[in-house]
Symmetry: C2
Subunit: 244 residues, 2 copies
């Protein structure tokens, strides 16, 4: 039999934010290669007898190099297995799915990508914060606070009428705040940090860019966090979800 | 009984790109308020005896004003009904979900937002195009080619190391191309248009900003279209999906 790899977005970590297509593929997989601690609830829904291979990447703790993950996926497919490569959120947004797909293509392995609910969407929905708004945001930008060199690059990303969703480490919050202000953002810009967004353990801290930079480090409890900042973020602060 | 409104993302139009949470809510709803032609496959999965109310918005053809939709949702909830407001893609990305939620909050109606797979994620996955890439894109920006005044506003949005996903009308493609070039984008920048992305009818046209602006108007067949443009778009063109 010819093997194949499905790069599958697991969504933000809540089992019921998985797509039906992802659920079906998890039920058909011979082997599931996963890396995020946030995907436990989703893994519960996989075929019981599917092999599970943990390849690391719990935050800073990268257990396996990307090149080794690529080689593993290729080997499993060459063995004729149906492989699900499960990735938190969406495979093509900060998931290195593109790199894995390139490696598979170079090796002649069939590959299908299944999109997922990326963290920014889940955080916005869970916190009641619009990412775009006819009056306040014509665009939304997703950017990562994690770079290869450990820095934060927000050059050119501060623009009027735009929401920024920053997939971040809290450790990078201070230089991130400084970078945004250096690019022209007001320190009073509405902002929110969402921890474990989209899961039952979600927590939300609202404020301004400055208050968040000051308060968030002492507020987070170690879960994955996302920063939303921009005029539209203030629209959500009026509190629709408080009504629920 | 107290009514409630769920603002539910339907995803890009393929029934199996719905989330499990959305599926459950569609099964519980008393009434479903929907607007996109692209949500038929998803509507098939709703409770058979749920009332369906079509409120328009098939492209330029807005059948009901936003204010009237807001009032309808409030009235249905006041009647004690469980309302699903079904929106294509994600409710908070160009879906005016934020405005509906604000109106519901102002009226004291409980509201929950369920995120969905927004078109850019489905198009990227379906076409095999990474939105971010460690070597080519640190950020991805979603922007709409539809504005209140009918124009296109890309000021400040052309930045190195960024993918643009433009939720567009093909009618706006020529001024959009001119706007991007005026902002400094190379006419040779890799680009792709994806029509009916994420559905079985998906079509993909690859090229450069200039070739797409020239060829897409004669190529599209009337479905919803999305433009991806940026260095990372060229990474996908090597063709992983051709291997599948």
């Amino acid at each position: 039999p010819r093997g194949m790899v499905h790069l599958v977005g697991a969504g933000p970590g809540a089992a019921d934010l998985l797509t039906l297509r992802a659920l079906r593929l998890l039920g058909e997989a011979d082997v599931i290669v996963h890396d995020r601690l946030g995907t436990e609830a989703v893994l519960e829904m996989a075929r019981r007898d599917a092999e599970r291979i943990f390849v690391g990447k719990a935050r800073a703790n990268h257990c396996m190099k990307q090149e080794d993950i690529n080689a593993l996926l290729i080997r499993l497919a060459h063995e004729g297995r149906r492989v699900v490569r499960l990735k938190g959120g969406d495979p093509l947004v900060f998931g290195r799915g593109g790199e894995e797909a390139e490696a598979l293509a170079a090796a002649g392995i069939p590959c299908e990508v299944v999109p997922g609910v990326t963290a920014a969407l889940a955080c916005a929905a869970g916190a009641g914060i619009p990412l775009t708004h006819r009056d306040a945001a014509r665009a939304v930008t997703f950017v990562t606070g994690h770079r290869r060199d450990g820095g934060v690059d927000v050059r050119g990303l501060v623009q009027p009428g735009q929401t920024l969703a920053i997939y971040m480490g809290i450790s990078t919050l201070a230089p991130l705040r400084d970078g945004l202000v250096a690019e022209g953002m007001a320190p009073t810009m509405p902002a929110a940090v969402i921890e474990r967004g989209g899961t039952p353990q979600q927590r939300v801290l609202r404020g301004t860019l400055d208050s968040i930079a000051r308060d968030a480090p002492g507020w987070v409890t170690g879960g994955p966090a996302l920063l939303l900042v921009g005029e539209a973020v203030g629209r959500g602060a009026q509190g629709w979800l408080q009504a629920a």
